[in-house]
Amino acid sequence: MKSIWKFFTSARLAVVLSLLITIDVLTGTILLSSSPKALGTIDLEIFFYWLFGTGLNNLTASWWIFLLLALLVLFVVNTIVCTVDSIVFMFRPRRDAARIKPRRILSQAIHLGFIIGLLGHLVSSASGFRTMDNRLFEGSSIPIPQSSELSLRLNKLDVAFTKNGDMLRMDAYLSLIRDKRVVKDKVVRLNEPLLYQGNAVYITHHGEAPESMKFELSGNGTQEIIKIKLHERSVTTNWGYTLKLENLIPDFARDSKGKAYSASKQFRNPALEVKVYKGEKFLVSGWFLLKYPNKTPLAFDGLKLVFPGLAYRPYAVLTINKDPGTVIILSGALIFIISLIGLLFIKGEEMELVKRQTLK
C-alpha cells in the first residue's frame, strides 16, 4: 500500500503522464481533422452518450479519447495523492510553522482548482441536454426540453445586413413562459444567450419559410389581398368569391392540345391550378407559375386575379442546452488561475523573469 502511495506522490509520474497525454492528444488533433465522419458528431451529443455509442463503434478514430480518459484518471489520482500528501505534511504535528508556506498552499489550491474543473467536465459529460436546430417561428412557442413547465416564444426577429451582404445583427426577441406567465424577456443575439435556471438558449441562424399563397384581386379601382395558408385548400374573399387550390405540378408544361402536364418530377417550374367560384357556381380556372409571380393573371366578372408570390414567415433557429457542469468548471478554473497568479506574485521576486540579484 505504501509503495502504491509513494508511486502516486511522485512528481516524475506527473511529468511522464503529462507527456503521454501530450503525445496522445497530438495524435487526436490529427485524427480530429482526418476523421470528420467518425468524430464530427461529438459536439452534437452529451459526451459520454457519444463516447459509448458512436465512439465505441469507431475505435480506429476514437481510441485516443479512451486512452486520454485512462491517462486523465491516473493524472487525477496522482494530483489528489500529491495534494493530500502535501497537506498532511504541512499540518503534521510538531513541525515548524515555516512549513505552511503560502507557496505550498497556492500549489495545492492549483491542484484543487484542476480537480474541481475536471469534476465539472465529468458532470457535463454525463448530464444535461443539447438540442440544436430548434426552428421557432415569429409568434409561436416551443417547449424547453426536459421541462414540462417552461416554453419559449419568439416575439420578433430582427435581422439586418450591410450592402455587401455581411450580417449586421440577428436579434431574437424571446420570452420564457411558465404557466402562461412570462418569467423572462431577453433579446438573444450571437454571444448573448438567454440564461435561465441552467437552461441556455442561443440563436444560431435564421430563415423564412413559405406560409401562405398570396393573391391580389383587383377591379373597379379597388383591391383585395387574399392569403391561403399552405395547409388550407380554399378561401372565400370579402367579395364573395371562393378560390380553391386544385393541383400542383412540379415542372409545368403544356402538350400540343394545351393541356397542362408535368415535364419531370423536379421542381423546375412549379405551377398551381386555382379554380374560382361564386357561391356554388364555377367561374374560371387557371395556372399560376410559382417562379414567375405577377404573370398569367386570371380574369372574371371584370376583375383580375394576380399571384404576386408566396408570403413568408421568419423563423429563428435556436440551440437549447442545459449543462450543469459549466458552473463547476468555471469555479475550478477560477481557483486554478487565481492561485497561479498568486504564485507569481507571492514574493516580490517571483514575478520577475530573472532573479534581479543574479544580474548584479
Binding site: L26, L190, D323, L330, F336, E352, L353
Partner: protein, 260 residues
Amino acid sequence: MTEIFLWLSIAFYGAGFICHVLDQNGSRHTLQRVSTYMLILALIFHTIVLALRVMETGHAPIAGRFETLLFFSWSIAVLNTILLFRYRLRTTDTLTIPVIFLALLLAAFSDSGVYRLPLALKTWWFEIHVVTSFFAYALFTLAAAAGAFYLLKEKTGTGTELGIYQNITYRSILWGFTFFSSSMLLGAIWGYLAWGSYWLWESKSAASLLLWFYYVGVLHTRMLKRWRGKTVSVMAIVGFALVMFTYLGVSIFLKSTHGM
C-alpha cells in the same frame, strides 16, 4: 501606409539583428547601442502598423493570419524590450529577433485584406482570449530562446550565466502558462456564450489542450533535480515547436473550425 511601416519595421529588425550579431561578445559598445536604437525604432514602426490596422478594421488585430502574425511578433518584441530595459539582457535577442523577423516576413506575404469580423467574433471575450494566448506564445518563445542558450553555453558558461537562462526559461514558462490558462478559460467562456459549449472537439482546441498539458509537465520538472538544466531547456525548445504547431500548423495543415 500600413505596408510601408511594415517593411520599415522588417528592415530595422533585420539591421538591428545584424548589428547585434556582429557584436556578440559585447566589445563594440557603439554597435550594440546602434542595434538597440534600431530595434526600438523597429518596435515603434511595428506598433504603428498595429495601430493603423486597428483604425482600418475597427477591431483588435487578432483576426486572420496577417493580423495574428503581426500581433505574435509584436508580443515577442515587447518582451525583448522588457528584458532590455528592466534586466539589461540582450542575449536571447539572437534567437527571438529572427522569430519576429520571420513572422513579419510571413505577414508581409499573407493576405492583408480587410474583412468584416463575423458577429460571433465581435466580443471582448474573444479579443482578450486571443491577446492572452499570443502573450503566452511569446513567453514560450522566450523560454525556448533561453533554453537554447543554456544548451549552447552549458560547457563554457559560468554558473551565474546558466542560472539566468534557467531562470528566464522557468519563469517565462510560468508566466506563459498563466496567460495560456487564462486564455483557455476566456475562450471557454466565449464559446459557452457564443454557441453553448465551453469546449469543442476540433483540432485547434485539441492542440491547445496538448500544449497546456505539455507545459504542466515542464513546470513539474522543476521539482525533479535531475531534470533541471538540460532537460528543461530541451523541453522548452520542443515546447516552442508545439506552440508553432498549435498556432500555425493546425491552421495550415489540418482542418479546424477554430480561427487562427
